[in-house]
């Protein structure tokens, strides 16, 4: 798989390999294709509860592959308005479809201007291409 292509331009990225995409006045968060490829087969995803407040740059959940566990970091601060409960039974959706069906949480951002600080698809692609 090419690691430097296929990151959709319709969203922003973090250096910790999360993506965040606007959907109406809410934002959907997941991990990048590069991240799922590095982790390998995902077997468990631990997500916050609806109503929890997540803080930019701090862990909001955990993702586990066969070999390892990694924290999930919030790209921006906000309130969790939905979580992808299907990942409990189908964690491999993160491998199969990281940019759509493998989404993790939906948040209402505290400050939408914080998104401007995040990486564009081109910037993120350049970063992982190093």
């Amino acid at each position: 798989m090419s690691e430097s292509a296929g990151n959709p331009p319709d969203r922003r990225y973090t250096s910790e390999h999360e993506w965040i995409k606007a959907d109406g006045d809410e934002y959907v968060v997941g991990i990048t294709s590069f991240a799922q490829d590095q982790l390998g087969d995902i077997v468990y995803v631990e997500l916050p509860k609806v109503g929890d407040h997540v803080e930019a740059g701090t862990a909001f959940g955990v993702i586990e592959s066969v070999k390892t566990a990694s924290d999930l970091y919030a790209p921006v601060s906000g309130e969790v308005v939905a979580v992808n409960a299907s990942l409990v039974e189908q964690p491999q959706a993160v491998n199969d479809d990281p940019y759509s069906g493998g989404w993790m949480i939906r948040i209402k951002a505290d400050d939408t201007s914080a998104l401007d600080e995040l990486l564009t698809a081109d910037q993120y692609t350049a970063q992982i291409g190093d």
Partner: protein
């Protein structure tokens, strides 16, 4: 790939890279942890069909000469006099204090030849102990480390025999578990043993380094469609099978008896390294025991995850993983003897949260390997 320049490479290194393997430093060797197929698919191939492994990092040391069997007997805990020529046996090498130096497979290749297969991480210390025992006892035997001039390829799974048979000039159906023979595979001489560490039927093939890549490619091109498997799948497979891994379940601080390996310690054998200490351990009994744990959902226990009983830490996970076969978390752990009975309810503490864990009879997944030949 400058980081690999200090690592040892097996004769299959280029083949792994061509397949797109993710390579890691494993005990000083540049080894594939997984291929693009992924650990789960590799694991399922071995349980349901057949997988191929590069095991060439494992130490292969031949004892050859008049006192070969005697030297092997002094080093190994198991009585190799009970093993016939043409058969292999799982055993331990212990230290004088009874701690485990390594686990090994000993192959009796004749009255004057024994092959030891060691863990990669212990090849040097195992060889040193073997040499020092030879010297101390004045034995007449050559100790020849062939690790770097040969390769070892594992072929594991229910379709292993169907994969190898058409390529081979011997009747594999006649080869019992833990037996071996010299065969020709596609014309090349291959040492074929019916051994493995996955819990499935299968073979391990030792060949000269120059033949390794040809054999590897030949196996992968067979109509049974074998899947190349890395160290990741090897670890999930052996954990489901309840097999110990050096550095996890066993090391210099563990006793064979607490690791459930008393069955390979033959104390009635004359003399071997660690015997006196092991006689005492057996008489005194052990305080903890290795158990299998089936763990409730909520995370994967990893090595060093605490095991708790009523909120009190009582032990530690030595290996833990998601079981691809059972679709749930499993672990091997040491717990105090009174808590080691099947069905005992315990918990493991994953990220500060207790997940219930039940002591489960090992193996987690039933073994399917061929039985040994009857005596």
């Amino acid at each position: 790939m400058s980081e690999s320049s200090l690592l040892l490479e097996t004769p299959l290194n280029a083949a792994h890279r061509r397949l797109g393997a993710r390579m890691v430093d494993f005990a000083g060797w540049d080894m594939p942890v997984q291929y693009p197929t992924g650990i789960l698919a590799e694991h399922r191939a071995v349980r349901g069909n057949v997988g191929v492994f590069d095991l060439s990092h494992m130490g292969r040391v031949v004892l050859h000469g008049r006192d070969a069997v005697q030297l092997a007997q002094v080093c190994a805990t198991r009585d190799l006099a009970r093993v016939r020529d043409g058969e292999a046996a799982y055993s331990l090498l212990c230290l004088d204090d009874g701690g485990i130096l390594d686990d090994v497979i000993a192959y009796r290749r004749g009255a004057e030849e024994v092959l030891f297969v060691f863990n990669a991480s212990n090849r040097v210390v195992d060889t040193e102990q073997t040499l020092s025992q030879r010297q101390r006892r004045g034995l007449s035997v050559d100790v020849d480390d062939r690790t770097l001039t040969t390769a070892l390829i594992g072929l594991q799974g229910p379709a292993a025999q169907a994969t190898l048979e058409p390529l081979c000039d011997v009747d594999l159906e006649q080869l019992a578990g833990y037996s071996f023979l010299q065969a020709r595979v596609d014309g090349a001489p291959v040492f074929v043993s019916r051994t493995g560490y996955t819990g499935e039927d299968g073979f391990e093939l030792m060949v000269d380094a120059e033949q390794a890549e040809g054999l590897w490619e030949l196996l992968l091109s067979q109509p049974t469609q074998p899947v190349a498997c890395g160290l990741g799948a090897r670890d999930t497979l052996r954990t489901e099978a309840g097999f110990a891994l050096y550095g996890h379940e066993i090391d210099r601080t563990t006793s064979p008896f607490e690791a459930r390996l008393g069955w390979v310690v033959n104390l009635d054998k004359d003399d071997f390294v660690g015997r006196e200490a092991l006689v005492r351990q057996k008489a005194d009994g052990v305080e903890r025991r290795l158990v299998g744990l089936t763990v409730a959902s909520g995370g994967v226990p990893r090595p060093e995850t605490p095991v708790v009983d009523d909120g009190t830490p009582v032990g530690q996970v030595t290996s833990g993983t998601h079981s691809p076969t059972l679709q749930r978390s499993i672990a091997l752990a040491y717990v105090p003897l009174p808590l080691a009975g099947t069905g005992q309810q315990l918990a493991v503490e994953v990220r500060g949260r207790e997940l219930s864990a039940e002591v489960t009879r090992l193996p987690f997944v039933p073994h399917h390997f061929r039985p040994r030949a009857q005596a």
